[in-house]
Structures are given as C-alpha cells and as structure tokens.
C-alpha cells in the first residue's frame, strides 16, 4: 500500500513561502487547478514567480497583485481571446517582470528543467520580438558541421507545481481522461520535490484507475506528486473534459465583472473571499438564479 498523500488546498498553500516560483498546469481556460489558485488568492503570499500557459489563473493572481515575475506563452480565456485582468495589469505596468516566450519555448524550458539540463536548443523565438525584449536570452552554436546558431532556452526549475487531473489515487497516480494532458506532466517533473500538488475531480482506489480509461491515460505517477487534493468541480470555470465543459456563462460573467472596479469588488466578495466549499455553493446559487 503506497503512502496516503491526501491534503487540502489551504494546507498546500500554507506550505509555500513568499517569492517562490510556482508552475500552474492546464492551458488557457482548460483544466486549470482553480481551487488551488483560489486558495492562493486567499493567502498572504506575495512576490511570486508564476509559470503558466495562462488563463484565469494568471488573470486572478495578477488582479490580486500576487505576481512579481511571470514566464508565459500567452494569457487567454480561449472562447474569449483576451483575459481582462491580465490586460489591465500589463497596461497599468503592474507586473514587475514579464517574461514572454513562444509557446514551444515554454515547453522546452520546462522539459530542460525536468531533465536537469541547463537549456535546450531550438529555433522557435530566434529573430522574433521575444529576443528583442529579453536581453538575458542567449544563443548557442551547433558543434557539428552545420554550425547553426540556435536559441538556448534556459531551464525552469519550479519550487511548487499545481495541476488538476480527472482522477488520482491517494498517493498521486493520476489520470487525464480528456483530449489533452497539456504539459501537466512537465510542470510536475520540472518541480523540486516537496510542493508538487495535484488536485483531481475524484480520488479513486488504485484498483479502479483503469475503470474509466486505458493505461495510456496514466501519465502521472506518484513519484511526481507530493500532495493529492480531492476537488470536485475544482477546475471551474475552466474545462475539465469529460467530467464537465467550460462554464461559458460564468466565464462571461467573470469577464464582465472584471471590466468595472465596483462590479469586480462585488464579484470578488460573492465568490472569492470564502473557502472552496463556499465558492462552489455561491456558484450553484448563481446558476440557480441565472
């Protein structure tokens, strides 16, 4: 019997410190570990470095002033292309150190981190604005006959990682049942052991892991995970296929509220000040009314 790693969002966040580098899995407004992000919002943590294929996770953390530095491929809500809080923060200049990468560069940075390499070479990013605005990026020359100059994407090592999966057992053998794992496995493997937190829709017995998907869906094993959190509807309002799709109506309400300080204050008080259980209850009430 493997070790029981069950914990809660608040205990996970309580284990973190100011200034840490936190990687957040998912993609845009898809399968984001939102219950962990909401716990982060409620915490006093600050000066964070966030690494993300960004969606509402980045928007919410930016609006709460949690982000000092961020490494991102994009920030988008998918069905609504632009993230309102992210736009506002960038346009107000409140993100001290934005590090903008090509989407593939970010994968390479996480992959290098997970392989404990200092960098990985690529052409993606060469000659683009990514290099114009980031003077720390370096190129490396191929030592072989071609002698080509390539971009050396520096490895990212994370202090903490948050991902949300469909199923997991209590020790962190986890399963994605939707169409794409995104880069969740890389976020976990690029992270130092200690603060690798995995939330899931449902914790199941190890024996039951193959009831809903083939072995191909078991891309995350317990050596990659330190804490497991059962969080039904935990990715709300982002997608968590096939358990549920994106709550488009709620996402729209989020965007509308973000457009006006008074509306955002009301939205935040209604949904984001209390516990995760209170959030889920407030969402259920909102749905019943609308």
């Amino acid at each position: 019997m493997s070790r029981d790693k069950r914990t809660t969002e608040d205990d996970a966040v309580a284990s973190l410190r100011d200034g840490m580098t936190i990687g957040i899995g998912g993609w845009g407004s898809r399968r984001k570990p939102m219950s962990l992000v909401r716990a982060l919002l409620r915490s006093s943590l600050k000066d964070l470095t966030i690494v993300s294929y960004g969606g509402p996770d980045v928007g919410l953390l930016a609006s709460a002033g949690k982000i000092r530095r961020i490494i991102y491929g994009f920030v988008s809500l998918d069905s609504i292309p632009l993230e309102p809080h992210w736009r506002a923060a960038r346009q107000a200049g409140t993100i001290a150190e934005p590090v903008e990468y090509d989407e593939g560069m970010l994968q390479w940075a996480l992959y290098a981190g997970s392989l404990r390499l200092p960098f990985l070479p690529t052409r993606a990013g060469l000659g683009s604005g990514v290099m114009d605005v980031n003077s720390s990026l370096r190129t490396v020359r191929s030592p072989y006959a071609d002698g080509e100059d390539l971009l050396a994407v520096p490895a990212i090592r994370l202090d903490a990682a948050f991902v949300h999966l469909n199923r997991s057992d209590a020790s962190g053998n986890a399963q994605f049942l939707g169409p794409d794992i995104y880069f969740d496995d890389l976020f976990l493997s690029a992270c130092e052991p200690g603060h690798r937190y995995l939330s899931c829709e449902r914790i199941v017995a190890t024996d039951d892991l193959l009831n809903e998907g083939t072995f191909h869906t078991l891309r995350i094993n317990r050596s990659m995970v330190d804490g497991v959190i059962e969080a039904p509807n935990g990715a709300h309002f982002t997608t968590c296929e096939p358990d549920y799709g994106r709550d488009e109506a709620f996402q729209k309400a989020y965007v509308t509220a973000a457009g006006n300080p008074d509306d955002w204050k009301a939205f935040s008080e209604r949904f984001l000040q209390g516990s995760e259980a209170q959030y889920q209850a407030a969402v259920a009430e909102w749905k019943a009314q609308s």
Partner: protein
Amino acid sequence: MTALADIVVIAAAEAFSGDGEIFASGMGTIPMLGARTARSTFEPDLLVSDGEAFYVGNELPIGGTDKQVEGWIPFRSVFDTLWGGRRHVMMGASQIDRFGNTNIANIGPWERPKAQLLGVRGGPGNTINHATSFFIPKHTTNVFVNTVDMVSGLGYDRAAQLSEWVQRNHRLPRVITNLAVLDFNSADHSMRLVSTHPGVSVADVQAATSFELVINGEVTETRGPTDDELAVIDRLDPRGLRHREVS
C-alpha cells in the same frame, strides 16, 4: 453576385494548394474553412483538425461535432509537427509590415502596452519552422503598417539575418484580406499585390496600406468559387458564420 466571404474562403483554400499530406491549420472561421475547403476539393491529402485535439477524416462543418477521428493531435504533437515542418498555418495579425513581420502580441511598447493583445503565442515558432499565411478581415493602414510594435511572426528581412536553414524553411505564402490577395514574390521579398477582389481597385488597396506595395505584372481579379466549390463551402459552413468575418 458572389458573396465576399465565399471569394475570401477560396483565396484562403488556394493558399494550401500544393501542400500535400501536411497539417493545414486555420485559426478562426475563414482560415479553418479555407483549409477544409482545400481538403474537400483540390488538395485532398491535407490533414485538418477540429481545433481541439483531433485530426478529422470526414467533411466536418464549422462548429460540427459529428467527427470521424483519424488521429490524435494534442498540443505537444502540434509542437512536434510544426517544429518538424509538416504544417502550414493561416493565422491573424493585428499589424503586418512590408516584409511580413507580424504582431498579435500588443499595441504600443511591449514594456507597458497601450493595448495588451494575445502575446506572441506560437508566432515565432510557426514562422521560423514552416509556411505561415495570414488572413486579415479588415485591410487598413492601422494593420498594414511601416513598423510593427512587437514581432510575433518573422518577416523576410528578419529571416535573412538568420541561418541558411531558416532561410530555406521560412515561408509566408499568402496574405488574404477583405480587399485583396498578396504575397512576397518580389525581388526583395517585400509585399506584392496579386489580385483584388471584385469591385476593389489597386488604388483602394494601396490607400489602405501604409507602405508601397510591389506590383510586378498584372494584378488580376480574385476568382470566385466554382459551383462545386460553393456547394462544398455551404456544406462546411451551413450557418454562414463566414459572413460574420467579412462582409
């Protein structure tokens, strides 16, 4: 009279002509329709996706869900495919300059933008690895600019500064707008006017462009779809969503 959207869809489809068995990827309704129309007519070997994570083998209408899945293409495989060069993408651009440098990232200085847009997303990797075409629904001097505010996609002048490999693989086949079809087939790879859509003059296109367009040879009128092609477009977009992108 042929609707503008149908002319533009055929122009988008023709951008994929000759591509063979690669992933034809369209961002937005008209580019996606262009790829699917090409596959259903003159470029049958193309692979097209549902925009999520699957290659679809059947003639899937825009917004349709009745898919014949012929392959799995999660984002990691998209990156592998595009770095491997087996893809041609048609995407948007908020700004484009004479050499095809494009910007989808931000308007105003990157350090503190006047308007934060999408970010560079996959633009740098797309343009340096494989063919990238553009669809611009509103051709104006605000889009066709002298200098883009942030280079998300590489133009020919920037590619020329990089390796021979890059110069062999960087390719911007086509720019399609609500007014015209353009490409970069000129001596110095600056933007060339290929054809104007019916009722649009060369002067109209030039007036909507901040830089001088190259004209080398005859500027033709963009062709409309044949009856068979129009039937395909109607099957692929029965709700007429294409007419919301250009009209």
